[in-house]
Symmetry: D2
């Protein structure tokens, strides 16, 4: 069986995922596309042999759409996801699930009312081979009970539109999700402290930032977010447990010795770093849809949690860099909470 | 368009490739299967929604077979490949292309008579991300003209049926192909020298072996083949040029510090090491078939060359460990030889 | 000329330094020894051909003592160092310079009154080849203006007498000194946060601790102190600047592949990790004494600064884990302050 | 007790060792110097407070010379060493022990007649921390019985006077000695094969060379000697045994990430690579002299063996690149041979 996917939003990320569903992942087909720019939707649809539809509701309702992919502008996510739930169709929504915690919660509630999980959020790191190995090591007990995690998230540079709150909302949000999953633990407080800012970027941006998180189990996480580090795209994660530590591997790279240096290239682009993870994410999502089961990836609850935690992080940044308690609602039974 | 593939040979490798064509690679479908064990063919066909056909000729002739995959027993390869050429259908043949140089040459000749390339040989290393990076470094001139290559091919262990000549025929053949491609050069002589044999294996087996190759350009290659190295599956390749060296990366692995050791796991299975390479190999092969062009991977000529070179290597091993000249026919125009 | 050294304190560290001065460092001779245990002093003196003297003052006054090494119990350091200054003799004092900031300041004042530097404090990391390389990289501008430093100081285990304040006083004090020197910057605030404690150690000990420092230039330092990490003695230091990062190397170690693992041994003992640094420290100290100049190593002021900063760190630990401002006196002209 | 050393030969190496004996190694003093250039001897003597003596015999005979260091021109080594044996004085002779196997043998015989070992040859690699670690791993059985060794010896460049035979005589001789010691085994045949020569050096030089050795136990060694590799001074040694492999570590170096590269500096000079090994060599030699025992380092027999093996290597290079059997005399009882 081929899973027929309707795509809402044919921008840069949408196009990349359409290519992925068409050329990379077996068993999937893009059958419908919609976009706020109807010309772009039409062109895209022609190129991949799909139909262009006028809007999200039409696409979600279409008979030849088994599952929905939401890659439109963030503020529109909640509405599309709620519509998909109402239609009982599986939906993969790029992060963020919604731009406010309230909207995330509405989605969680809608899904609970529907009675089974339909929503997956596009946190792709859980599909990265390195993180999966790392989780295997943690779960296997090799390093004992985790106590601390040291992370770094570095981009070579960011566009002018990037503002200080985005360090949490757009950048650290990936670590927030993947660390909750790695540790099987919840983040209960967040704090930001700001080192001297790099002079390599516009003045108003607080870059780098150091984020400090505490989990329910008392694990302390420090995360360097440095989005104008100049040298490359570099993701580090070291987990320290009672009997040892485990470190996310750097991507395999040819070692070169020349001109007095031994070295290897550092990636420059997150799409190179996590391209395989995206492929795996879509492959497993399509498989779960085909199997007719619930999605196996990050849930609506995970999307809600990420939003609440990034909100707390931003609040710390903007209000004196003190620790801010994460105020999360009770976890519903559908999402592993008490029945 | 979906490429409809007929598979000849549903043994272990065949099954793995059928899974790959079905579950992993987009745009492909296995429509026909045959196997010397007709029951196995039937079961497999049912499982993937294909037809079981009585034999190779029937499969190659089938209307719903656009391209042929040969994964049967080595001695049968030549016949199936020649039949596919006669039928004008693209064929991907697992290594070896044929078990004798003469048969390889018959295939090369048949393809030349047909007038365009149809055959690809299943040397998957050319699709490994590490080797591709390495080729990029070599081609980019970073290390200057290559002068030497140091390689190792280590397996944790091999089955009892493995005999000394297989070190060249089954094991080193992968380095032989990938080095010809990496260097863009031809191997002109081969020699084997045998260190003290490991006591960890049956007595008649010469293991390890050190193979020495020389290329037309004077590059010297040393290759350790050690198929009972105990510790893991480990592929090493270091190319030394006039101004530097470049080394195939080890697979990315979580770094762990525990109990007085800093380390990471070594893979145990070639299928883990080259699984992604196989996926890429098939993805690109399917794409070339879909595009209606010639295959872009290892050619019949490459299959012939690998066989002639492994023959010379085995001859050196069996006749006093002296250098043996590789006696290769002139390269036909279809394969880049003089017109 | 041979520098004649008198040693106050012949305990474990004292014995190691006596061996160093006798067997390792050229141009030095231990001529006098004193210890609170006069028997131990006598035995030691006999063994190395020195005189046993009754106490510090007698040793400092001795004609055949050109320079004084203080390796006695911490609370006695200040008195011996002050006496050496009064006698106008160079003195190398193991850390801490004194157990209170007030005593450190008395030493700084005494030295200023004397008019030239006589005191060196035994912070050996400045003599470690790796830290020196790292300082070369920082000073050379390779990574631009430093913005952050991520450090870890891990011991496999500590004795029962170790208490929570010692994490700053005995352990982190090495990072505090070496980071001030690496960055050429002053630490102006300190904070401790405590992750979930390891269960592998006695209950009252807060281990691990995460220390956060801020410098006058706004550099943010995070330092994991984990003194029961089980797996080994491991020192990490990564400096992140505006254009890159530089990382303290791990000690060179044989790489081993066996039994499915690629790895190398982690050191277990700080004496193995910093043995060469101690040798260099003493070699350079002896050379400075022989040359008749001022010591080139960590000064009394550095000893004072380290004490004030560790005091602030302990205060943060013991009083709610809030940031504590480091309250340092003005730097005197003799130590690079304003004239 | 201070060991009083007389130095024959005050050229570049001699000066470096005089500095070492004076400034670095405790318990040693250079008391006499001679050189073919008497002015240089006089200047050097004044500088370090020694006497300048007219020639080797006078220096060896001097009452204030306990031990002799020979760092003169290679062809003069044998005479000085024989004289030192005749005088019953310990002698450390820089490599080569003598320029011919015959002269080496005369030294071995003279020492045997004298009845105890006096001679140490200056092969410093046995004192390198990395090689010592590697020997510990081999002797500890971690990788099982050794079967193969893969080595490389690379220099960034060499002076014009360097000729093809020196690749064995001056360069590979270090591996020849250290491998005999590492493996506790004897080299019984040698062969050289020559890759395409680098264009970065004068035409008559065969560079690189690949040397193949076989030991009495059947271990196969391949050694790349590449003395104009451009990029740095780089020593590699990987030993493969029945159950694993062990690799000489690269020197510890600060890891740097900047401008799209992760890397570290490669050393350029053998004196940086083996400076610590020289220090240890001299420290242990002085200690053995002071203790009145036999030297613990490479013996006259080791010097003889190295010369015989390099002779065989050169013979292979110059006569068709065939394997050449190493023709070594029976090992005398003084050097571990049969009594």
């Amino acid at each position: 069986m081929t899973v027929r996917v309707g795509v809402i939003g044919a921008g840069m990320i949408g196009q990349d995922h359409i290519r992925r569903l068409t050329d990379v992942v077996a068993g999937a087909q893009v059958t419908a596309v919609t976009d706020i720019d109807s010309g772009r939707a039409a062109e895209t649809a022609v190129r991949v042999g799909a139909r262009a539809l006028p809007d999200g509701p039409a696409l979600i309702a279409a008979d030849d759409v088994d599952a929905v992919l939401v890659t439109s502008w963030g503020p529109t996510h909640a509405e599309h996801v709620l519509n998909a739930i109402a239609a009982g169709k599986p939906v993969l929504c790029e992060k963020p699930l919604a731009t406010t915690a309230e909207d995330c919660l509405r989605i969680v509630d809608a899904e609970c009312s529907y009675g089974r999980r339909l929503v997956q959020v596009g946190f792709m790191r859980r599909y990265d081979a390195g993180y999966r190995q790392l989780k295997g090591v943690l779960d296997g007990g090799t390093i004992g009970t985790p106590l601390m995690v040291h992370c770094a998230h570095r981009n070579p540079t960011v566009p002018d539109a990037y503002h200080s709150a985005m360090a949490a909302q757009d950048t650290a949000v990936h670590e927030i999700d993947v660390l909750r999953w790695l540790l099987g633990d919840e983040i209960v407080s967040a704090q930001v402290i700001t080192p001297r800012a790099t002079s390599r970027r516009f003045e108003h941006l607080k870059d780098p930032q150091i984020m400090l998180f505490e989990t329910a189990q008392g694990v302390r996480i420090d995360l360097e977010v440095f989005v104008n580090c100049q040298y490359g795209y570099d993701i580090q994660c070291e987990t320290v447990g009672e009997t040892g530590l485990a470190r996310l591997p750097d991507p395999a790279a040819v070692g070169i010795r020349t001109a007095g240096q031994h070295g290897s290239a550092v990636l420059q682009d997150w799409k190179d770093r996590f391209g395989d993870a995206f492929d795996t994410e879509f492959r497993e999502w399509i498989a779960s849809v085909e199997a007719g089961g619930e999605p196996t990836g990050p849930s609506a609850w995970d999307g809600y949690a990420a939003t609440v935690i990034t909100d707390a992080t931003v609040r710390s940044l903007e209000s004196g860099q003190q620790p801010v308690t994460v105020d999360m609602k009770p976890r519903p039974a559908l999402h592993g909470g008490p029945a």
